[in-house]
Symmetry: C2
Subunit: 323 residues, 2 copies
């Protein structure tokens, strides 16, 4: 995997960047955006990072994650959206994935728009687009940029990219875990990433309330044929004192049952409005299912939002899976 020459030339030539990633950021979004900012720093450029939503708690241990600014903090950081120079979308490929707020979208005043992403969803946004659906994580693409520029990663950049890869490969469990991914992880560990620290922060830092929510969530587990279905309602969040971010990785757990080909987490966003997270073990293409409901993702990990009662939402998605 090699970045396009135009992208490398662009990064060498331009001086002012605003790196933006998608709302509800995950580890690949945060890690890739921050690592790219650190690489641009090292090239002597000026780079700021923008995200609609604040860095989720489990990613705040990442070095330099405080560089990620939200609409609330960006002005105080001296960053003027209207004059952001070059906009670089990372881990997403359209401004709508950055923010749904159309007023905010219009405020981005950029000379050029670049896209660096591994999501295949087609969108026309950007003048310079590098999209690699085969990349296990956008973090792999950022590493390839550093390599192509002949740069040695700092430990902080290595840590962010390691975290990006861990999140998008399920810590080397998903189908996208190739020898290349493991070589990249090895090189990042050599450059100063700490695998144990990353895993501890991601997988061993649950609060007691999150554990309580997990117990409630497990209690809803229901096998519908080869689909393991579980639900998290707003009431469950309220009663356990948890927030939506606390449900991250819950859906992965549903795959633990040997009889489950597909895992489905239904999370209530508001009354009659649900977020569906889908995971597949191999044969079912859950991205295709998510797309039918206006969502998207990867073959083995996808999501969408569906409106209706819990029962009807569950039934409609199940019907698509078993079709």
């Amino acid at each position: 995997m090699r970045p396009p020459v135009e992208l490398l030339d662009f990064l060498k030539r331009e001086d002012l960047y605003l790196i933006a990633t998608h709302r509800s950021p995950d580890g690949d979004a945060i890690g890739s955006a921050v690592a790219l900012a650190l690489i641009l720093d090292a090239l002597g450029k000026q780079a700021a990072v923008f995200c609609q939503d604040a860095v989720p708690e489990q990613y705040r241990f990442l070095p330099e994650s405080s560089r990620v600014h939200t609409p609330d903090t960006i002005a105080a950081a001296g960053i003027v959206l209207e004059e952001c120079g070059n906009l670089v979308l990372v881990d997403c490929n359209d401004l709508h994935r950055v923010t749904r707020d159309e007023d905010l979208q219009r405020r981005f005043g950029y000379r050029n728009a670049v896209v660096i992403d591994h999501h295949a969803t087609p969108a026309p946004f950007g003048t310079l687009r590098w999209i690699e659906p085969e990349a296990a994580a956008t973090g792999m693409m950022i590493l390839a940029i550093a390599d192509a520029l002949g740069m040695r990663l700092t430990p902080a950049a290595a840590m962010n990219l390691y975290a990006a890869i861990v999140v998008d490969t399920g810590n080397f469990r998903f189908e996208n875990t190739s020898a290349d991914v493991l070589y990249a992880a090895a090189r990042l560990a050599e450059a100063g990433a700490n695998p144990t620290l990353v895993c501890r922060e991601f997988y061993e830092s649950w609060s007691a309330s999150r554990l309580a929510l997990f117990g409630r969530f497990l209690g809803t587990l229901d096998m519908r044929g080869a689909v393991a279905v579980a639900v998290v309602t707003r009431q469950m969040l309220d009663e356990t004192g948890t927030v939506p971010d606390d449900t991250e990785t819950f859906v992965e757990f549903l795959k633990i049952n040997r009889d489950a080909d597909v895992a489905m987490l239904i999370r209530e966003l508001e009354p009659d409005h649900y977020k569906i997270s889908l995971r597949a073990k191999g044969t079912v293409d859950v991205a295709a299912i998510a797309r039918q409901f206006g969502g998207g993702g990867h073959r083995n990990a996808a999501g969408c939002e569906v409106r209706g009662t819990l029962d009807s939402v569950r039934q409609r998605v199940l019907a698509q899976i078993t079709k």
Copy 2:
């Protein structure tokens, strides 16, 4: 890490081997023993594999795992313990770890006894001992032997070694996950190991009854200061129709709580006789605690057996941890 020249010379020189690993075998035991047998095959040698206990269900997908013979099957396989040629202990360093049956111990008729292990526990057994406490897994040592012999691994051997490393690093989560471990994993994936398949078999092949046991187990979770304690009784196994092997990795889950420095699983072996599994996140040396009860292990993962009532066993181990 380089194997001793004497060991390499020995493997080149001798022709007949019995590879034996420890009772209650884990993935490092099975994977290392089978991979070594495959390496010796490729050298044109004759190698059999012995284990007191049958290969646990979750390791039976490993290629060539049917080569592991128990006392019940070994005679039918045409292997004569009394004339086993050269005995090679793998992932253990004493015949007592292979079997407690002293009659069986006496039956091993070997010309030379070799030890290849990463457990530091000192034992005088063997004429040629290679012990590397710094190795993350015995599988890393077997890979080093193949490298030193200039051998290309078969996909089957790569798969076994990958599984060995995954089990002993908690799929690259434990403190022993170094850049070297990740480079080894990358090379093994390149040689034909399938990371996703290994993880699916280890972590996503639970039976419904095992999930039911897990729910019961979670229900016993109790924080005693910074120690997360949970219990599996024989009654819980009986009522859910599960076996002791089904509790594997349960103790890892106890580390999920951010307030837990130590995880302790107490599993009833028989009335007033418990197996204690200990895991630490960093500061506490649980091997030192296990040794006080006649057990052993690694700094972050150790075990022992303690006799007494459940309450007294729990109290005595907790007292050592918090001392």
